[in-house]
Symmetry: C2
Subunit: 149 residues, 2 copies
């Protein structure tokens, strides 16, 4: 080993919290996301928009951006695609015509009536699988999301 350069600081990627969180996010969403995609042609972004609409009724792009972790151009594009496949519809807010009103179509509601229970059971299974570690994870995430806001 003829290389005696100054040693680099020790740093283990696997102990790096942002990395761990990214991996955890990917692993836990993979299975469900695949179902959305394969069975319904829905991406994660689109799914988030749908969930928010299912929950909140009539909302604008801005509302969604403010509430869920998506940029507004992302919401806008997801909404466009969802409109194209007939899952949501868009009207103009009559009192402020810059604003858009997004709502689920009947077809969209039907889809969500299928999808939401799937997501729910995914969550339940996840909690069961983690056991008491889930509560710790939750406590940690709660604090983290509050701090990094």
């Amino acid at each position: 080993m003829p290389d005696d350069l100054p040693p680099l600081p020790e740093f283990d990627l696997f102990g790096f919290t942002p990395y761990r969180l990214a991996v955890a996010a990917k692993r836990t969403s993979e299975a469900l996301a695949r179902q959305y995609r394969e069975r319904f042609g829905i991406s994660i972004s689109e799914w988030r928009v749908l969930v928010h609409l299912a929950h909140s009724g009539k909302v604008s792009v801005r509302d969604i951006e403010a509430r869920i972790a998506m940029e507004k151009y992302e919401v806008s594009r997801s909404a466009k695609r969802l409109r194209e496949v007939g899952l949501i519809e868009r009207r103009q807010n009559p009192t402020d015509r810059r604003l858009v009103i997004l709502t689920l179509t009947p077809k969209g509601r039907k889809l969500m009536a299928e999808l939401l229970p799937l997501a729910k059971s995914h969550q339940v299974a996840l909690e069961a699988r983690l056991g008491e570690a889930f509560d710790k994870l939750e406590a940690g995430l709660e604090k983290l999301l509050e701090e990094f806001d």
Copy 2:
């Protein structure tokens, strides 16, 4: 309200663990990733590869893929870019010529000598900021990453 469709199941995106993890990952990596990008022109993928090389010396694309959460085409492309900017170099493994040997160049080592302490203090700051919630988060993540492997 003339719309009495069958109600959708209640589902709160904010209680959905994969979503929470994704948001947490994004929020905690944002600040540091911006530094990498703006000051050194390094993406997150490229940074991961660099960290692994700093840690492990000479490795192949396959090694990296196996060790860190990246697809091999992603590793390959990151390596290509890093080579183009002179941060790593690539040789052929003489005993198995399919394999590639990636190593940091002196320039790459110099960069990492700057970057790693940055990442380290980012982690330290994160832990301090979360206080005892950090240990819970860690316990939860540990179990999760072990389960979803």
